[in-house]
């Protein structure tokens, strides 16, 4: 009972702190090699949030109000579900479902719906283009994600994330299935439409699905994206980097460190790669990455049979 | 939650789905009606599996098969709509029957 309460508390804390951590880390990653730290790196995200809370939410011509207001909250909710699936230790986990790997797959699929809804419901041209683009992206990465995750579940012979971690006792999946984590990182960039895969909220669409959003709902949307990044990093750390496993430190600290590592990697990729042209992105996903994910799955299957 | 309430819910879903499938003019909406009926059918299958099938695995299998059928139905449905649409530029059931005459 105490542990389930503690794990719920953990989810809430990450939910509250995640956006701030992501914002600060993004700034640190952006300025890292030069060392020239902007003065407001610590306070900047907070004052920006305060500004967004002060700003009024605008209207467009005849938007679908319910969907428009609900979409950011739903995306945040999906991110929270993702966070709840991350095991901090063998017992410290909010929802230890037998099929938690598949549930994470559903989170990815439903995210596509919610992001589409966010762009579609604004009833404006640029958000709509962003929404369509995201569907093309979402339908492309979802299969890659399925194959890679099934690959990670194979050695555990279970669809439960705690079992997946336990199966990495001898060897982490990142070593056992070398293709897995890189492919999964692509999925993560797609899921949060971050950096090179930011096709939905891109600069050439003046902000894409968020182009017409201001004030508190923009704040929720940005927070949801950040929390989704954290949730994804947590799942990636669990499925490929051995979750709570590690010497000397207690399990939850290891999970935290590994999550931050994956997060920093994603943010770094976001800073250093240009946005991939949508057509090229879809071609890449279906022609290169999808077969690679299949190779990953076959590799994992052969290893599981052989072991 | 009991077998009867679950079956009542399934019946309601099937009823609404039947109404949709019969009343909608557009192909795609018609397919939505069919999907809603299958939704009810799946719920009924799982309810029987849980309450009066003693957890026989065939109950779950049936649901999986229905899901596959839904995917097949949707894919074939869309392919037909595309084919018909290209040939006749029609996307409602009535437009199609008029063209046949």
């Amino acid at each position: 009972m105490i542990e389930s309460l503690a794990s719920l508390l953990m989810v809430l804390v990450v939910l509250a702190l995640g956006p701030y951590v992501v914002a600060v880390m993004d700034r640190l990653v952006a300025t890292a090699p030069r060392g020239a730290l902007a003065s407001d790196v610590w306070l900047g995200p907070l004052s920006r949030a305060a500004w967004l809370l002060t700003q009024h939410a605008n209207a467009t011509e005849a938007p679908d109000w319910q969907a428009w207001r609900l979409a950011p909250a739903l995306y945040l909710a999906l991110a929270a579900v993702g966070l709840a699936l991350v095991p901090w230790s063998p017992t410290l986990i909010a929802t230890d479902l037998v099929t938690s790997v598949v549930l994470w797959g559903s989170v990815e699929a439903l995210a596509t719906v919610v992001i589409f809804l966010h762009g579609w419901s604004a009833n404006a041209v640029l958000p709509l283009i962003g929404a369509y683009r995201y569907v093309a992206l979402g339908l492309s990465y979802i299969l890659i994600s399925m194959f890679v995750l099934i690959g990670a579940a194979l050695p555990a012979e279970s669809l439960q994330l705690t079992q997946v971690v336990a199966s990495q006792e001898s060897l982490w999946n990142v070593v056992r299935q070398p293709l897995g984590l890189p492919l999964f990182l692509v999925v993560g960039l797609g899921l949060t439409f971050w950096g090179p895969l930011n096709l939905a909220d891109s600069t050439d669409l003046a902000g894409g699905t968020a182009a017409e959003v201001s004030g508190p709902s923009r704040l929720v949307w940005e927070c949801a994206r950040a929390v989704m990044l954290v949730a994804f990093s947590g799942i990636a750390a669990t499925a490929f980097l051995g979750g709570w496993l590690g010497p000397w430190l207690p399990g939850p600290v290891w999970v935290l460190l590994k999550t931050l590592f994956v997060l920093a990697l994603l943010l770094w990729l976001g800073q250093w790669l240009p946005r991939v042209a949508p057509e090229r992105c879809v071609t890449l996903m279906w022609i290169v990455l999808l077969p690679l994910s299949f190779v990953d799955l076959v590799w994992a299957g052969v290893l599981a049979l052989w072991a | 939650m009991s077998l009867v309430t679950l079956l009542l819910l399934a019946a309601a879903l099937i009823g609404i789905g039947l109404y949709g499938a019969l009343s909608q003019q557009s192909f795609v909406m018609l397919m939505m009606g069919l999907e809603l009926m299958l939704n009810g059918a799946m719920l009924a299958a799982v309810a029987f599996w849980a309450y009066s099938g003693a957890g026989a695995p065939q109950g779950q299998l049936l649901t999986i098969i229905v899901m596959a059928v839904m995917a097949i139905e949707m894919a074939m449905g869309f392919a037909l709509v595309v084919a018909v649409f290209r040939g006749k530029q029609a996307d409602t059931t009535e437009a199609l029957s008029e063209l046949k005459q």
Binding site: - | A12, G33, A75, D91
Partner: protein, 207 residues
């Protein structure tokens, strides 16, 4: 099966959600909204399945239907005249008949549910539904499962044939070429032939 009052409350809420969302599918103006209402109905039923201990099926329902409804919504936009749902519209026929048919179906099925007696044979304790499903799928019912797989493969091929035997731009065997962007214009998106300086997509000037 023993369960707590919370399960009953959750079931009640989810059941109402499933029915209301299912009903809204056919009463909303926008096709995109309609497909997402259907998705909500599916998600509610999936959650009920999870309450019934069919964990895999419930979760599978989420992701299967999310993708399916997303595709559905896109097809709506492609084929419907009112994609954004800005304009109220009513696209129904044989309305009264349909209502009667729907109601009759409900009452017959409801009567069957209420008045027939089904054996009470709940899930045995210690059953692992996911494992049992897996063993069934790749054990006794392998033939059925594999047939479903073959049917899906056949569907994929059939879909490709149906939607593209005429090719993306005309009959495939005649060498399909995209139409021009203006009537009678040069094919769009094709490299210009025979011009060393390289043509672009939209030539007006032939040298």
């Amino acid at each position: 099966m023993e369960h707590s009052i919370f399960v009953d409350i959750a079931f009640l809420l989810l059941a109402v959600l499933a029915v209301v969302a299912g009903w809204r599918v056919f009463r909303t103006d926008s096709m995109v909204r309609a497909s997402f209402f259907l998705l909500v109905s599916f998600i509610a039923v999936g959650a009920i399945m999870m309450l019934l201990a069919a964990e895999y099926l419930g979760v599978a329902m989420f992701f299967m239907m999310a993708v399916e409804m997303m595709v559905m919504a896109l097809f709506m936009v492609m084929f419907m005249m009112n994609p954004a749902g800005l304009n109220p519209m009513m696209m129904v026929h044989q309305h009264r008949l349909s209502i009667i048919a729907g109601a009759v179906a409900f009452f017959i099925l409801a009567a069957m549910a209420l008045f027939s007696s089904f054996p009470a044979d709940p899930l045995p304790a210690g059953l692992d539904p996911v494992r049992s499903l897996g063993h069934e799928m790749l054990g006794d019912s392998m033939l059925i499962f594999e047939s479903a797989g073959i049917v899906l493969l056949a569907t994929m091929i059939g879909v490709v044939v149906l939607s593209s035997h005429r090719g993306r731009y005309g009959a495939a065997e005649e060498g399909s070429v995209p139409p021009g962007l203006e009537p009678g214009g040069d094919p769009a998106g094709q490299p210009e032939k025979g011009e060393s300086e390289g043509g672009h997509e939209h030539h007006h000037h032939h040298h």
